[in-house]
């Protein structure tokens, strides 16, 4: 029985993919039915390189150690009223955006990976996907637990799952994950593991966690550090899956290119909310959106796409548009939320004089010219007791579901809003950009089904036609979690705790 000892790679193979076998009694396609409908060709699952060789025993051990430390900090945070140590109560609004918009997406992602991790024909890829599925459950639950303490002292956290399924701006994130979950297993993993995790994590996860670090939020920053090694694994999987698909068959290349283009754009559109969070919602700022984009996408992403060139993959054409938009989107997004502040589950405000100067410095080419005057005018109205709220509802893009606020920066017209449209089955659909129109045009039968919140309100499906009824449908109330930060119950409590008038 004494044969040659196995190396680590072969041993891991025995502990994962060798568990699989060739079927004799059932058609294997009945057990793994979704491998072919997307047109992806897998010629040999054995070519899958395990991106990390983690077995369950090691998984339990490492993860349990991390959980133990994390929950010890949560307990200490609660015991010591850690919420009193944040830079300013305005900061907490960034957390409200996170819990209501991002955390439920972690659960959707956990589900997507469970489905994919059940359906890949190759056991190596299945195990990697399953581990990510349970990791994403971890992120969902540890975020709920981290926010649990804030929920006891601030408004805007308490209805997060209810709101995620209903409130107008949450549909931007929800539709993203509904979109990838309703796709096949390969599009799903390209969307989430590659486009989102590998290319964009540094622009979503990192900004929120760095924001927490800069603003004295020990619970969130500890979560961030604790999740870091999970995220590193997820990013490694993203790169492995893309290389695997491209190496399997040349016919996969154009399909994967389409997916990369689609999902980078979809992901980028979601980041508008991160941009606004970084530039407007953090009392202590660590970096501007523009700087983050340049560092994490233009530099790091450029190198990545250089590396993928040998497979015939190109950097998407629209990166020029994104480059042009980086001076604008945070300001445009904040204005949308500021002016619709009665329908947002967090508080909005006009920046302080110091913050306006910071924005001028970070956006020398655009801020003073296009955005400062509007914010100053809003502040003047506030001072007169006439805080501005718009009465209308925004028109939403059929694809990304963001209000149509993006402007024609590509043609040097930053004050002109971009409108694009397509006709399908005699109905007209509207888009915020060429890219969102292109995504729709490729799969119109899918995107016509989008549950567009504003359309739903007008159709009477959100409690009724009046603002009060919609607010009730959202469980938002009036004057607690929404409206301006000034005069809010959050502000009053904060001042009382801090002993300021």
């Amino acid at each position: 029985m004494q044969a040659k000892k196995l190396n680590v790679k072969d041993k891991y193979r025995l502990l994962t993919r060798d568990l699989d076998w060739e079927f004799s009694y059932e058609d294997r396609k009945e057990a793994f039915p979704y491998e072919e409908f997307e047109g992806i060709k897998i010629t040999d699952w054995d070519k899958w390189e395990d991106p990390f060789r983690l077995t369950m025993d090691a998984y339990w051990k490492y993860q349990a150690e991390k959980e133990k430390k994390l929950y010890a900090i949560y307990d200490a945070f609660a015991q010591n009223n850690g919420h009193l140590n944040v830079s300013d109560a305005r900061y907490v609004n960034a957390l409200k955006v996170f819990l209501t918009a991002v955390s439920p997406a972690e659960f959707a992602s956990s589900n997507g990976f469970a489905w994919a991790g059940r359906h890949y024909g190759g056991a190596g890829a299945r195990v990697a996907a399953q581990m990510q599925s349970i990791d994403e459950l971890r992120h969902y639950q540890t975020q709920i637990h981290a926010m649990s303490h804030y929920n006891k002292y601030f408004d805007g956290f308490e209805e997060f799952p209810h709101m995620h399924d209903r409130v107008w701006y949450m549909s931007v994130v929800k539709s993203f994950f509904d979109d990838c979950r309703s796709s096949g297993p390969f599009e799903y993993i390209v969307a989430v593991s590659f486009a989102f995790e590998y290319v964009l994590t540094n622009l979503l996860f990192v900004p929120f966690m760095s924001g927490a670090a800069y603003n004295g939020d020990m619970a969130t920053v500890t979560f961030g550090f604790s999740a870091q090694s999970d995220e590193a694994r997820h990013m490694t999987l993203g790169l492995e899956i893309i290389k695997f698909l491209l190496e399997q068959h040349e016919d996969n290349v154009p399909i994967v290119q389409e997916w990369i283009d689609k999902w980078l754009w979809r992901g980028y559109r979601i980041l508008a909310v991160v941009a606004m969070m970084m530039d407007y919602m953090l009392p202590q700022k660590f970096m501007s959106w523009k700087e983050a984009w340049e560092l994490y996408f233009e530099d790091a992403g450029g190198a990545l796409f250089k590396d993928l060139e040998r497979y015939g993959i190109k950097m998407p054409d629209f990166t020029e548009t994104i480059k042009n938009e980086k001076d604008h989107i945070s300001h445009q997004a904040w204005w949308v939320f500021y002016s619709h502040g009665h329908a947002a589950a967090f508080h909005t405000w006009t920046p302080t004089a110091e913050e306006l100067d910071w924005l001028s410095e970070k956006y020398p080419d655009t801020f003073d010219q296009y955005y400062r005057p509007r914010l100053e005018a809003a502040a003047e109205l506030e001072a007169k007791g006439e805080r501005f709220y718009t009465a209308g509802l925004p028109q939403l893009c059929q694809t990304c579901q963001i209000p149509m606020f993006f402007t024609n920066v590509d043609e040097g017209k930053p004050t002109e809003i971009v409108y694009r449209e397509s006709t399908y089955n005699d109905e007209r659909f509207h888009f915020c950009s060429n890219e969102c129109k292109h995504i729709f045009d490729r799969e119109p039968e899918k995107y016509v089904h989008a549950w567009l919140p504003v359309h739903q309100i007008f159709q009477g499906n959100c409690g009724g036609g009046g603002l009060d009824e919609v607010m009730e449908y959202y469980r938002m109330g009036l004057g607690e979690m929404n409206l301006d930060y000034k005069g809010s119950p959050d502000e009053k409590r904060w001042k009382k705790w801090k002993g300021v008038a």
Binding site: L15, D18, Y25, A31, Q63, W451
Partner: protein, 329 residues
Amino acid sequence: MTLEIKTSNIKPIRNTYGHIARRFGDKPASRYQEATYDNAALVNFHYKPLWDPDHDLNDPRRTAIHMEDWYALKDPRQFYYGTYVQNRAQMQEKAEGNFSFFEKRDLGARLSEDVLSKCVRFLLPLRHVEQTANLNNMHCSASTNYCTALAQATKFEAMDRLGNAQYFSRVGLALDGNSGSTLNEAKEFWMTDSAWQGVRALCEKTLTVKDWYETFLAQNLVFDSLLNDLYYRQMDAWLSVNGGQDLLILLDFMSSRLTDSQRWVDSVVKLTAAESDGNKELVQSWISAWRISAQQALEPLASAMLGEEALADAFSALETRLGKIGLGG
């Protein structure tokens, strides 16, 4: 005498999230409650799944079972991610100790040829059965995305079963000096030995079942009950009296894990059947059908491994278990 450390006392404006308060009242909630209840998406999905256009993305109609409140099917262990991994980490630490004790003392060398060959032929192929259980539970987890209580517990079961498959593989590696030769032999038995073909066919069949609740019953109740009795009671006893006791410490993880897993499965099935006559009939008809399949599948294996009475004994253990959860014949 108690010490009272003064902390700044700030009165909370609420004790828990709105959906938790509506279910349990506005009082401090447990971490299991906040991690589990009413936080899965149920409405306003944007697109139909391309792979299942007749259902919504999260849809309770992927099974014929009806529940007024799916969260009634909670986990009596109250496992959420944090408590789950910490519990299993303790168990794996013990298992790790067992494996290193076994290898350090070279206990494999003390096993007789008879015990060794029995182990390779009958024990090690279970790694493929465990991988089937992994996939079946992952199917349940993916399909119960509308109820976190079920989605998480089935996911934990799936990961447990992958762990089991890996522990069985390590048993082989502990016996063949890390060469993998026993695992290759065992796989040959799995693929060609007539004693195993019924079980393999049954595993392949369970992987084609669409209704997740049927998968859950076939795998976690019927099939597992029978295998558990055959292996962790009868085979265990055989090893004990045939000089194979040392091998048992390598199976300790799998057999102790069963206790808590069965408690959860029993609780889920019991509550489902108690919900309505419709559910009860459905559950019973699925159990009956899978009992017949399991009987045919396991007969050759049980006879070759333990003798002719073995399967009948296992069926009476299943009968007892069904009786306890109100489904006795």
